[in-house]
Amino acid sequence: MSGVINTSDTMQVEKVPLITGNQTFATITEKISSIAENKTPKMWFVLFGAASSLAIMMFGLIGYLVWEGVGVWGVMIPVGCGLAIVNFEFWVVIGHAGTLISAVLFLFRQKWRTSINRFAEAMTLFAVICALIFPGIHVGRIWVAYFMAPVPNQMGMWPNFRSPLIWDFFAVGTYFTVSLMFWYVGLIPDLASLRDRAKNRIRKIFFGITSLGWRGGNRQWKHYELAYLLLAGLSTPLVLSVHSVVSTDFATAVIPGWHSTIFPPYFVAGAIISGFAMVMTLALVARKIYGLEHIITLRHLENMNKIILVTGMMVGYSYAMEFFIAWYSGNPYEKFTFINRAFGPYAWAYWIMISCNVIVPQIFWSKKLRTSIPVMFVASIFVNIGMWFERFVIVVSSLANDFLPSSWDYYKPTFVDVGTFIGTFGLFFALFLLFIRFLPIIAMSEVKGVLPQADPHYHGHNGNGKGDNHGK
């Protein structure tokens, strides 16, 4: 019966359904809520233990850093921005795909986003938390980090709003806050579902408070939907602006290899590819563990792979264009910097970056590889590695060999640098595990909304035959 959903000529009949396996509203609720309700699997404790141990190591290393000073890092002159800035960039870009999926695809009415948006938004939040740690500790004296905020103080000082560092602080701070609100608004109806299913008192109280008394009336949905749309509309320029602003930290400097107008769009394309790669990695694991194959279908994964392919080529174009401009500008320092990147002391990092970001995504031209789970899993990890090295190449190779050969040096991170970076993965996964354990990992109300039976016309044609005369 469900072969034809829409008989009207203007609507296109979907070839592949978004959600497979003949789901009903009830099976969606059951499938997703039960993940947050069932007994905690043993594996969860193992993973959470490992992740939180790494996070504790990170906090320990940060304590050591604060106690001893930034000398425990490998940073020196001329490489004053070491792994801390590389890691900040790496994590903040991961977050971008979350907002892209939840906001931009929402505005473009890409219904396939519903299965992965909650996930991606949570990933955004946790990635931005990891990112925000680094500029905070990178200032060295972390107790004066509040200087960046426009807080009236006894010294009568104000931040310098002409500085890209302050732009960064505002852009990333806003990004985190808006992402948090967007995520929470999306969660409200699903928290209400968990509240209504809650068996014990603690759950009833917890979800009763967090769902804010949601009762799913259309007089509430009306405001809710508009608020969601507005937040999506406000987040969309944020995706494009946050990383553009971050890139101005580099672009406004005079260092060859940084001082470039291509940076904002180039960084945004990089943000999208790395974020999608991370969503892919996480979604593939969760899909396997929780058996969500019918909700996160091959079609969702294929669409994400197509985006990785496109943005991979955009990033490749940017790499090529940087080289071209370095030659075309006639500036000997620029020219040297780029030749040095590809063939100098950091050539290994450069070629890892090119292989992972430009060459690996090319396999997605093939439909067979694009729809193969193991292939896309490995490719997504490669892209993540490549994007970390992109930041490394930009930050370190430009600084290490700048104008004056007498000031050149070779930057080597210390164990504190590396340990803190590994520790952020611990923090990220610990937060993510808490999320998949206690909250609905897929936006239930939105997935129900894209099921064919959610369309009032569906019942009109297949059920009681009186569904087509409303709204006159």
């Binding site: 509203f25 009830a26 609720t29 009568g156 104000w158 931040p159 310098n160 709003f161 002409r162 732009w167 505002f170 852009a171 806003t174 806050t177 808006v178 609100m181 967007f182 109806p189 209400a192 579902s193 209504d196 299913r197 009763g208 008394g213 949601w214 009762r215 799913g216 009336g217 259309n218 007089r219 509430q220 949905w221 009306k222 405001h223 809710y224 939907e225 508009l226 608020a227 507005l230 937040l231 406000l234 987040s235 320029p237 602006s241 602003v245 239930m444 109300s445 939105e446 909304g449 959610a454 369309d455 009032p456 016309h457 569906y458 019942h459 009681n464 009186k466 569904g467 409303h470 709204g471």
Partner: protein, 183 residues
């Protein structure tokens, strides 16, 4: 024995199509204080219920302009009036550099208002509501569709209203009662 107070009536409908039909009949009826509850927003429900568009867009729009203005004002006042400092020979009021922060303040303030405005317009958060007295109603966040009519409606009458809900196809009609002593 506790005295029961009737706060409203709910009726269940089978699917989104039936709920939309019920909404149209309610819209054309004398009842004003009714609502249609569903696990997800139903396309076309606003029109079926005769609902106006939410004013939230205007509120957020106004706040966005105020936020943008506020951001520029903050930057102008701090770097021109309260703490003028020459940095790389740039003018105190370097408006070219003020874009990112003013933009961030605009987005931040309007997002706050989008969330708070949505909650205020929905009269949320609230800890209880008569509809939660019904155990069947718990299914509304799962797969059930309900119409509720509150007793505050001037045309509300226990018998007549439930007959009306039955006539438009409602099933499992239930009175929402609370104990008087609770009040």
């Amino acid at each position: 024995m506790a005295n029961k107070k009737v706060e409203g009536i709910i009726a269940e409908f089978k699917n989104p199509a039936e709920l939309i039909h019920a909404a149209e009949k309610l819209r054309d009826s004398e009842y004003k204080k009714f609502d249609c509850h569903s696990p997800f927003p139903i396309h076309g429900m606003d029109r079926a219920m005769g609902e106006k568009r939410s004013p939230l867009g205007w509120i957020v729009g106004i706040v966005a302009f105020l936020g943008l203005g506020g951001g520029v004002l903050l930057e102008w006042w701090t770097s021109t009036i309260d703490y003028p400092l020459v940095i790389s020979g740039k003018p105190f009021f370097s408006y070219q550099a003020y874009g990112p922060v003013a933009f961030a303040v605009m987005v931040l303030s309007s997002s706050f208002i989008a969330l708070l405005g949505m909650l205020i317009l929905n009269k949320l958060p609230r800890l209880n509501h008569p509809v939660f007295n019904s155990d069947r109603f718990l299914k509304v966040s799962d797969d059930a569709f309900f119409v509720s009519i509150e007793s505050l409606d001037p045309h509300f009458d226990q018998v007549k209203t439930s007959d009306f809900l039955k006539s438009i196809g409602g099933q499992n009609i239930e009175l929402l009662e609370t104990d008087e002593e609770d009040k």
